[in-house]
Symmetry: C2
Subunit: 462 residues, 2 copies
């Protein structure tokens, strides 16, 4: 049966479309952090939606499971196969074109395998902005961004990927193509079926193309770094920024003094301002004049009333990039410090200071000596509360400690990274049974044989 399926796929895809050699399959078999190794049957690399359909039908007939994969940059093991050697990885990488850009209608249409950066650049060439920005943008694909409902640093202004999806082209478990790939800003005609495929990590259908919303490109940008005495002060600063800058605020990042200590010790990076217990990196963009003036007014007010201790507004793009480099290297600094238990949690924004205090107490009591590297997107209530593990620390126990605190604040155990295979058990533990049952009912309705990315996001059907 297996040999028959491979022969069938080879006939569909031709020599460049099917990978069966173990060495060639290696890059598709494991995630980039090398945490979730798998063993695929083969890698199908279709070059068109029609080929995706043919692959899905062949797998359907053979009873083989399919694992859709884009840039393979996910953090939750959602795009890699299990160890059975029986799953077909369906890579969308060869479907990599921007289909069209409409600068007035503010839309971009692209194949699922189009690299996010390529799509960003195509929008920029037309004077518009595709406002999804994340560390992996040079490798992540449009289909992966949609399928994982990716977040990133601009969510405070533009929302998660879901908010930017206008249309989708999807192949269902039985090979049916559902063409929801409309270029409409407003469409209220019946169920919005594309929502089913956003953020469900390929478990309900395979995204083969998307139409995303663009926004006008702000002419002016202001980037500032401030030190603040506490998370509460950072929250006060956020309120001030909302008042003064309105929704021009496109990033509002909180970083702990410990994060900056890691940067200094391991990467020789230091902030151009006086140290503090906490730091805020904020960015705003607008086409109107008056942006920088408003930012400087807000900063002066914050310094005057003690909300901020010190601060700098970037004078040039290069300076802005230096400020961003601090934020972007924190994960690197953490890795150099040692093994860590990472958390991607969110709570209501106003509860972030209380959450941080409660989590710190839980760690101090439950895992004495463990260091906390907390940073993240305060503007969204999303904190990467990472715990550096010392000798004798139990990662799983620390995970439970942190998520217990998250639960007390009615938060989320995955604010932006998704569930993949990594957090399935924890999701089932934390969510009400009624929610899991409802999700399984959807899965059963769309993929009754559990052939699309089985083992991801959901527990095995009961």
């Amino acid at each position: 049966m297996t040999a028959e399926l491979i022969a069938r796929l080879a006939a569909i895809l031709g020599p460049s479309g099917l990978v069966t050699d173990a060495a060639d399959m290696a890059a598709y078999a494991i995630d980039w952090r090398r945490l979730f190794p798998g063993r695929p049957l083969c890698i199908a690399r279709p070059a068109s939606t029609a080929e995706v359909v043919a692959v899905v039908k062949a797998c359907h007939a053979a009873g083989a499971a399919i694992v859709p994969q884009g840039g393979n940059t996910g953090l939750a093991g959602g795009a890699v196969p299990d160890a059975s050697g029986a799953q077909v990885v369906l890579s969308l990488q060869r479907m990599n074109k921007v289909r069209d850009v409409d600068p007035v209608g503010l839309t971009i249409a692209a194949d699922a395998g189009c690299i996010l950066k390529v799509a960003q650049d195509a929008a920029a060439d037309m004077g518009r902005l595709l406002p999804i920005s994340l560390a992996a943008e040079g490798s992540a694909t449009v289909g992966g961004v949609v399928s994982t409902n990716a977040g990133g640093v601009n969510v405070v202004r533009y929302g998660m990927a879901r908010a930017l999806v206008l249309g989708l082209e999807v192949v269902l478990a039985d090979g049916t193509v559902v063409d929801l790939n409309r270029r409409l800003r407003k469409d209220n005609a019946g169920y919005d079926l594309k929502q089913l495929f956003i953020g469900t990590e390929g478990t309900l259908g395979i995204v083969t193309g998307a139409v995303l919303r663009l926004v006008p490109r702000p002419r002016h940008t202001v980037t500032a770094l401030l030190s603040v005495p506490s998370p509460k002060a950072a929250l006060d600063l956020l309120a001030l920024a909302q008042d003064e800058l309105g929704d021009t605020l496109s990033a509002f990042e909180l970083m702990s003094g410990y994060s900056f200590d890691l940067l200094r010790r391991h990467l020789d990076l230091t902030p151009p301002i006086a140290a503090g217990d906490w730091f805020v990196l904020l960015e705003a963009g607008a086409s109107l004049s008056g942006l920088r003036e408003a930012a400087e007014t807000a900063l002066a007010a914050a310094l005057e009333n003690g909300t901020a201790l010190d601060g700098v507004v970037a004078e040039t793009g290069a300076q802005a990039a230096q400020l961003w480099a601090l934020r972007e290297h924190i994960t690197d600094g953490e890795a150099r410090e040692g093994k860590s238990m990472k958390h991607d949690v969110s709570v209501p924004i106003a509860d972030v200071p209380a959450f941080l205090a409660a989590a710190d107490i839980a760690i101090a009591q439950g895992a004495p000596g463990a260091k906390v590297n907390a940073f993240g997107h305060l503007g969204d209530g999303n904190i990467h509360y990472n715990v550096i593990l010392g000798a004798g620390h139990d990662g799983a126990a620390i995970n439970a400690l942190v998520h217990d605190v998250v639960a007390r604040f009615s938060g989320s155990i995955s604010a932006e990274h998704g569930i993949g295979q990594y957090r399935v058990d924890e999701l089932v533990r934390r969510r009400a049974p009624g929610e899991i049952a409802l999700a399984l009912a959807l899965k059963h309705a769309l993929d009754p044989d559990n052939r699309l990315n089985p083992g991801k996001v959901l527990p095995a059907p009961g």
Copy 2:
């Protein structure tokens, strides 16, 4: 069985919670435009989510269908019962409280029956904006807005209602409460189940509460009316406004010269600028200085290059209100002219001029003498292409003519008003069978006995 159900509901709801008198039921039995008369068994008016659950369970046991109703301001007959006398209308009107407002976290939580205007005012009291604005906001409810994915005049900037929903509390067909009422800006933990209940008009569950996203309240607003020579010129003006004003643009409305003719003849309303074949009303808001300057720059450029023929920027709030009154009275002017066939269509924004030209030709050929009152949200590609019917004109035939043109542009037959009972047949006619099948599969998964708002949005299960 019926008497037993009524007795059971009376026991659950008490005297003020159940209406069975025909005269008292009248207001719930028909939509406000009096196009979709129905005959309910009774009106259940629960005062709490627990009472909603009890009502749903009682109806479930009795095999009775439920029609959820908010402010009953819909335009598609989605919230009124059929003529069988067997359906229970479940009015959420007694669940009408704002639960809380968080001005820093930018959230508002409210009961489903809370009037939209009440929620808007609660947000404004905290210096924030709930950016859903529509004609019926004094009667429409939060639950209705969510369940119909309402649009309105601010969609160009803030999106449809869906984009503003952070959390939902829902009662399923069997009475299970699903508490998705989280206050999180970011939550990527598993399937986003609340999407199932947004815009599905109560056919998959009953929304009993919601958490909506707020935005900073712009300090400055600019409102302008311009006359333009053509829809194409209006589109050029939109591109110019996007360049100069960025995403501060919160409304961009197109109105035909004929719309203004109706205003003049029936309501004695005239624009304060020279007449043109088409008019644009635009509004932008920002907290930064420089908004008015940017708007005036854009307006001057448009007048200079012939994109606009004449224009005025409101000097005061009262003048802005006068400009808006023109836009808001068009429907009234149309009603005074005569009976009309209304359309709520959208096409890709850049295709609006071609759509209008093609539709005008289709009407001129297929329904000679019929007048077209075209106006709407050009910034969203959403045109209310209404056709005034003369003697001998066939509304259904005109509807088919217009929707045929919409189909040529891959548009939507309901951009914002929804499907309700009014457009079910047309939806089935226009959508691919695969989409209808997928929607019915969802319905079967969540409401296998077809007890939640049967006959709305979907065809009868096959």
